[in-house]
Amino acid sequence: MTATIALRGVSKSFGKTHVLHELDLTVERGTVFALLGPNGAGKTTIINILSTLVAPDAGTASVEGFDVVRDRDEVKRRISLTGQSAAVDEVLTGEENLRMMGRLSGLARAETASRTGELLARFELTDAARKRVKTYSGGMRRRLDLAISLLLTPPVVFLDEPTTGLDTRSRQDLWAIIRALADGGTTIFLTTQYLEEADQLADRVAVLEGGRIVAEGTPAELKARVGGEVLALHDADGALLREVPTDGTLAGLRRAIDQLDETDAASVTLRTPSLDDVFLAVTGSHLPTTNADERELVGADSSKG
């Protein structure tokens, strides 16, 4: 096992805002690594440093043994980035996007044509191939974006919040694609706001908050610290009455149920722990800016694969 991504003492500020503080991080070759954190934690900045878009103020970062500042071009040859805002050309069709990127990836014309056909089929975009990207849904754009990243299969793929803003179906489609990519031996570095996504995809997870890694381990280790599902009690209008964490055992669940005796309770649900629950467990405090909708979203599609 060798590290393919290494950050050592990396700091970055924009003006007076300190985004990253002496960050250390390593990712093993051929694994899926998830960087979990809320908006503004510094996730995108780390991706931008690793993909050579911004230089760190202090410390060093390397990808596949090449320094992101000194050997920038060598790093660029070995990565692909799928950013937060889908980096596709809206004026062109899906097919034209792939053709252009094929040419820019140095593929021969015939190879570009065959790869374009393959990728359109694999990402279920064949029917929309000749439609302008402007008319695509969010999920289709992400799939096209990812397809472009995979015209050549680079050793390292960066995915910056690949499923933010997608519906459950599109999210699960993307997860399947990312898993298949990982099975092919590509190192995947992804950022996410969803604990469930990290749990579903990653071999290792680091929790980022305020530019610092506050926890790191396997999803199982992280979940062990967070606990099991959360038992939630709602009234007839669907408003949340109470939440009780469980530890994943039958006895624990029974104890949790015993604590609930509200007579006006209409329904009881079990939800997976949210990012906020993770933060509560590892830092002892809630997320600085808790977004209720995001918590809802994570709880909503808690299908365990």
Binding site: R29, V54, K76, R78, A87, L104, G106, R132, P154
Partner: protein, 264 residues
């Protein structure tokens, strides 16, 4: 866990290959926005009809005003055609696509080069159409083949310089809407020159400004070449200004492109 055996490093791409791909991209963009092309032809044509038939009679009752106004209309048309690149570039910078190019082993700034080349070619086509319309309206230049070739070189140089300048304006703008606004201001520059009326007819305080306007020597040179009038040293001033504007625009846009790295 599988080891990385199926992955490939990308080849480094030459600036020529990436420029070629970006030329194709901008060409497709031009085809997809026919309204911009129609406007680029329609506006100067309307202006020429307006200046020739509405104002022309007052400026020159003998009907010779069309011969005077054509060089100015050509530059106005070039400026208008070039201004769309500012909106284009600002739009590109607002999406993640430029960042994607930057993370690939190619010279990302060639996306600007490709766009400039296509815009210049498109502008040359619209300029040819404008000259054809002028001939239909009674424009009768005395220029021979050599003079026409000189006009072609000068107009191409001017279009290249103004297009690059508008590309830089696009890079400097925070949004496509802002780029559109800045572009609009630049389009007024030709009015304070010898484009539409002789400088001598302007108030005393305005004359030095119109005289110093970089467009004045360019217009005087084109007019001289087309109509056979004497333009003295204006030709050298024209070439100097075009070189200066182009040089400034290239340096400015290169600096802006690098500065906006990784920040959206």
């Amino acid at each position: 866990m599988t080891t990385a055996t199926t992955t490939t490093a990308r080849p480094k791409l030459s600036a020529l290959t990436s420029t070629g791909a970006f030329i194709h991209r901008s060409y497709l963009h031009t085809l997809r926005t026919p309204d911009a092309l129609v406007m680029a032809i329609a506006l100067p044509t309307i202006l020429m009809v307006l200046f020739t038939f509405v104002f022309g009679g007052a400026f020159d009752p003998s009907g010779g005003y069309v011969d005077y106004v054509v060089p100015g209309i050509i530059l106005l048309c070039a400026g208008f055609g070039a201004s769309s690149i500012a909106v284009d570039v600002a739009g590109d910078m607002a999406t993640g696509i430029i960042d994607r190019f930057r993370t690939m082993p190619l010279r990302a700034s060639t996306v600007i080069t490709g766009n400039v080349i296509v815009t210049v070619l498109r502008n040359l086509v619209t300029t040819a159409i404008v000259i054809a319309v002028a001939l239909a309206l009674g424009f009768r230049p005395s220029a021979g083949p050599l003079e026409w070739f000189g006009v072609f070189l000068l107009v191409t140089g001017y279009i290249l310089a103004i297009t690059y300048l508008f590309a830089a304006v696009g890079l400097a703008s925070s949004s496509p809407e802002a780029a559109n606004g800045y572009g609009f201001i630049l389009l007024f520059v030709p009015y304070i020159s010898s484009a539409f009326v002789p400088i001598e007819t302007m108030p005393d305080w305005l004359q030095p400004i119109a005289q110093a306007n970089p467009l004045t020597p360019i217009i005087e040179t084109i007019r001289g070449l087309l109509m056979g009038t004497d333009f003295g040293t204006q030709g050298w001033w024209a070439i100097g200004w075009i070189a200066l504007i182009l040089g400034f625009a290239i340096v400015w846009s290169t600096w802006l492109f690098a500065r906006r790295s990784g920040r959206r």
